[in-house]
């Protein structure tokens, strides 16, 4: 095998991070567009225009989410097992919301009745807004630790059920993260609309960036301060060798104030991530105001990558810290698949990810151009 187990574990942390960032940039864009749909489109034609800008791509984009789920299953089976069952209610909420996206996009224009179309517009809004917020809330709770622990047989146990399990997730810090996530993805979607539409929708999108980008920037700064001064980080006191079997119960974990910032002094290069997050968002705001939506979209994508990268680097090497029994926390050293599985899946990703990026880019290029409201000079494009 080309890489030793320890290196491969780091590579897989980067790959999962790349898939999540890919998801946030690709699908986050059309979630953001969905968040803005009923507000930026006042008339049916405008809403059709907004939807047309993402209609050929949302389905492919959503596969980033599905593939990230599959990759976590393959590379971090314990995380897949503990996270999705421990966050049962939150994940159901996301799933139930996402149900309405494929059908919303496909069915909306099939019936002329305005009540039918308005209902689907709001369904698409909910189907975009709920996941946008819940993903942020989930990330926020990782910093606080989740209420789970593992027993001797690696079976995971949780606290509470139904609302007693769900409501504690909606704490102030996690809600702030939910707002950041919502504002960040909506900014990304607004810049996309500014780039791909014209007329009234384009102008409204530009105005929206002026509100949402500052919320993202301020929220990100407040969350940083909160993590530095208000939340105890997790810290591994002792653990077995980094290339040994995945046995998460053999380490000792402690909590310490400011612990989530430790990586930045340990590896100063990592400060690049929050810097990219901030600078990207600020440039997005400026470029959008200066009517440069194409460049603004690139900086917005960078900002999304920087913000998610910041979350990942702060938590490193933790993936899923446990609030109830910190020693049960899952890290990149002890929650991974076997050396063989990680190796095989590494080659699979190395081969297929460039192929996927290649044909996805080709599809975007073929569909490129301003989306206009159909009139005499611009015939209606084909659809579902």
């Amino acid at each position: 095998m080309l890489f030793d187990y320890e290196t491969l574990r780091v590579i897989w942390w980067i790959l999962i991070g790349a898939l999540l960032i890919g998801f946030a940039i690709a699908d986050g864009m059309d979630l953001g567009v969905g968040n803005l749909l009923p507000f930026l489109g006042k008339r049916d034609e405008e809403r059709q225009q907004i939807i047309a800008s993402i209609a050929p791509h949302w389905d492919g984009n959503q596969v980033w989410f599905i593939t990230a789920g599959g990759a976590i299953f393959a590379a971090w089976p314990l995380v897949y097992a503990a996270a999705f069952s421990g966050l049962y209610m939150a994940l159901l909420l996301v799933l139930f919301a996402l149900f309405f996206r494929p059908v919303g996009f496909d069915y909306r224009d099939k019936v002329e009745d305005p009540r039918w179309r308005t209902s689907w517009d709001w369904a698409l809004f909910g189907a975009s807004a709920v996941p946008s917020i819940v993903f942020g809330v989930a990330f926020g709770n990782l910093f606080l630790g989740l209420p789970f622990h593992l027993d001797e047989y690696m079976r995971s146990h949780y606290e509470g059920f139904l609302l007693t399990a769900f409501l504690p997730l909606l704490n102030p810090f996690a809600l702030l993260c939910g707002i950041i996530s919502f504002a960040m993805l909506s900014t990304h979607g607004a810049v996309w609309l500014q780039m791909r539409t014209d007329g009234a929708v384009q102008e409204r999108a530009r105005k929206t960036v002026r509100i949402l980008a500052p919320i993202t920037i301020i929220g990100f700064a407040v969350a940083g301060l909160w993590i530095a001064y208000g939340i105890d980080g997790f810290h591994i006191v002792s653990q077995q060798a980094l290339d040994s079997d995945s046995t998460p119960l053999e380490k000792v974990v402690e909590r310490a104030p400011g612990g989530w910032l430790a990586n930045y002094s340990l590896y100063p290069i990592t400060i690049a991530a929050p810097v990219i997050g901030f600078v990207g968002a600020i440039l997005t705001l400026l470029l959008s105001m200066l009517h440069r939506p194409g460049k603004a979209f690139l900086t917005s994508a960078l900002s999304v990558a920087g913000i998610i990268g910041t979350a990942g680097l702060s938590l490193f090497p933790f993936i899923m810290p446990s609030r109830t029994i910190p020693n049960s926390s899952l890290t990149i050293w002890d929650a991974t698949s076997s050396h063989l599985t990680l190796t095989i899946m590494f080659w699979v990703v190395l081969f297929f990810l460039p192929v996927v990026l290649g044909y996805t880019a080709w599809c975007y290029i073929r569909m490129w151009g301003k989306i206009r409201i159909p009139d005499d000079t611009h015939p209606k494009q084909s659809g579902y």
């Binding site: 996009f105 059920f161 297929f352």
Partner: protein
């Protein structure tokens, strides 16, 4: 620290109910997607090669119905990707090292291809050249069938788990040979059977709706051509489904043998080649088939593809279960000692020698907290319970096969009528064809029932009992989620069916080309010569 509680059967049944419900529901949409995409490829190829516009209209119209169905396929597929983690958390840990890989590959290799080019299929008509668009349709179809390949590799591994080994250090199955997992003969048999069944579904769908237009005397040229494409593809597919039925995989592994014996209500092992119980009433109490009509040699031939291999009967299977449970108790004891910190090399070697029966020891955890405390009666009960109930399997399988043979008849007759160019006059056949549209779905859902209920009591055959695989949730969580799925899925199904029926009834007129029945009152432009 052993779990101090016995497993709650009601909770496990609720978890199973939810999985069965969401999986069977998902599979209402998958088979049509599997088949219709290839039918679209065939129609569009004809268009590209001949330039006949009617074939482009056919591609677009059947593509519209495909889209209505596809939307719900994606919706319900999302649930499946995450449901192992949400509801089968211990399963996800225990086999994720093996099972997660095909799921991730499915996403990377198949879902991206399928979903990206689905967008191009619908929105690319004005943006792509003819050949480029055909390639997009082809990629959509290929992605769809590839996703079936990888999910069936995953599912095949649950039926016949090869290429993996249990590690007592990590408390899970770990991959030892990826090629074995991919080339698992059970998975390959299931793949052929399942995708061919999907192709049949789409063919019956297109044939049924085309028959409706012919009966109504509408858009005859369109309907006849659609029917012809579907019936040709359908004949090849239904023959594959029946000839390459996945029974060929049922001789591999103990749990698969059990499934076969249960399907056939084969209580006693017969001398090879075994006779086949065509019909009868299986009686689990006396362990005999009442009023059986037997066909000599047939079972041995179907199941083992040979004259000299035995098909093991349930009496012998139960005896083998009991022996394996006894070894499983030993394996479990060794495992507990190793986990408690005993580092002795001999203990490890002893464990390695019996660990392939560990799963059978775990079966006892339904009866006692610690398997070594089990009484002889409990061991007997566990050995007897390590198989699904016979009657639903026996009947489920026979109904599936019956419907399959019925569809073979319908498709063969349709093929004959098409070849003879007399289809329009066969009104009884056309009416029966419209009524037969649900038949493939019925057969497919029964097939999944037989395959998965037939795997019980195992989540992964011989390795992990289903009741141990579930997440540690509460009944309240499950009742909430089942209600949610039921509510949303019902609402969406009603909308989907309404749209499907609406557009199927309008027919190609929904394309608004001005060339079809409901538009001709206004103007009647002929097909353009060629494009």
């Amino acid at each position: 620290m052993l779990p101090t509680m016995l497993y709650d059967d009601t909770f496990v049944d609720l978890s199973r109910l939810q999985f069965a419900m969401t999986a069977l529901y998902h599979f209402l949409f998958v088979p049509l997607t599997l088949g219709l995409t290839w039918i679209l490829v065939i129609m569009e190829s004809v268009y590209v090669m001949t330039g006949k516009v009617i074939y482009r209209d056919m591609t677009k119209f059947w593509g519209k119905l495909f889209g209505i169905n596809f939307a719900l396929g994606i919706t319900t597929g999302l649930t499946m990707e995450f449901q192992f983690g949400t509801n089968w958390s211990y399963y996800s840990h225990y086999v994720g090292d093996v099972f997660g890989a095909p799921l991730a590959i499915e996403g990377l290799m198949a879902f991206f291809l399928e979903s990206t080019f689905a967008g191009m299929f619908f929105f690319g008509w004005d943006r792509l050249s003819k050949v480029q668009h055909l390639m997009a349709t082809f990629c959509l179809a290929l992605g769809t069938s590839l996703s079936a390949l990888w999910i069936l590799i995953a599912n095949g591994w649950m039926q016949y788990p090869i290429g993996a080994d249990f590690s007592v250090d990590t408390m899970r199955m770990e991959m030892v040979n990826f090629v074995d997992v991919v080339l698992n003969p059970v998975a390959q048999a299931k793949f052929i059977h399942t995708v061919a069944a999907g192709y049949v579904t789409a063919c019956m769908f297109v044939m049924g709706i085309s028959s409706y237009y012919i009966l109504k005397g509408r858009d005859l040229a369109f309907a006849r051509r659609s029917f012809a494409v579907a019936v040709g593809f359908g004949l090849a597919s239904i023959l594959s489904v029946i000839v390459l039925g996945d029974e060929s995989g049922y001789t591999l592994g103990h749990a698969q043998k059990t499934k076969l014996a249960v399907i056939e209500a084969e209580y006693e092992t017969q001398e090879a080649p075994a006779s086949f119980n065509l019909i009868g009433i299986p009686n689990d109490k006396t362990m005999e088939v009442d009023y059986a009509i037997k066909i000599p040699y047939a079972l041995g031939l179907i199941a083992t593809r040979s004259f000299d291999q035995e098909v093991t009967g349930l009496h012998d299977i139960i005896a083998e279960n009991e022996a394996r449970i006894l070894r499983g108790i030993t394996a479990h004891d060794y495992m507990v000692r190793i986990r408690a910190g005993d580092k002795s090399e001999t203990l490890r070697a002893d464990f390695e020698a019996v660990k392939h029966d560990l799963g059978y020891g775990l079966l006892l955890k339904r009866y006692v907290v610690n398997p070594s405390d089990a009484t002889p009666d409990q061991i007997k009960a566990a050995a007897r319970d390590a198989m699904p109930a016979v009657a639903p399997m026996f009947w489920g399988f026979r109904m599936m096969v019956g419907i399959g043979i019925y569809m073979l008849g319908m498709i063969a007759i349709g093929f004959y009528f098409t070849a003879k160019r007399v289809l329009d006059k066969k009104r009884f056949y056309l009416k029966l064809m419209v009524l037969s549209i649900p038949a493939p779905w019925l057969a497919i859902e029964l097939g999944w029932f037989v395959a998965e209920y037939g795997r019980q009591p195992w989540a992964v055959s011989d390795l992990l009992p289903t009741f141990l695989a579930a997440s540690e949730l509460t009944k309240a969580d499950l009742i909430f989620s089942i209600s949610g799925f039921f509510l949303f899925y019902t609402v969406l199904l009603v909308i989907e069916m309404w749209l499907m029926v609406k557009f199927a009834k309008i027919g190609p007129s929904s394309l608004k080309t001005g060339r079809y029945h409901f538009e001709k009152q206004v103007a009647a432009p002929a097909y353009p010569a060629a494009e």
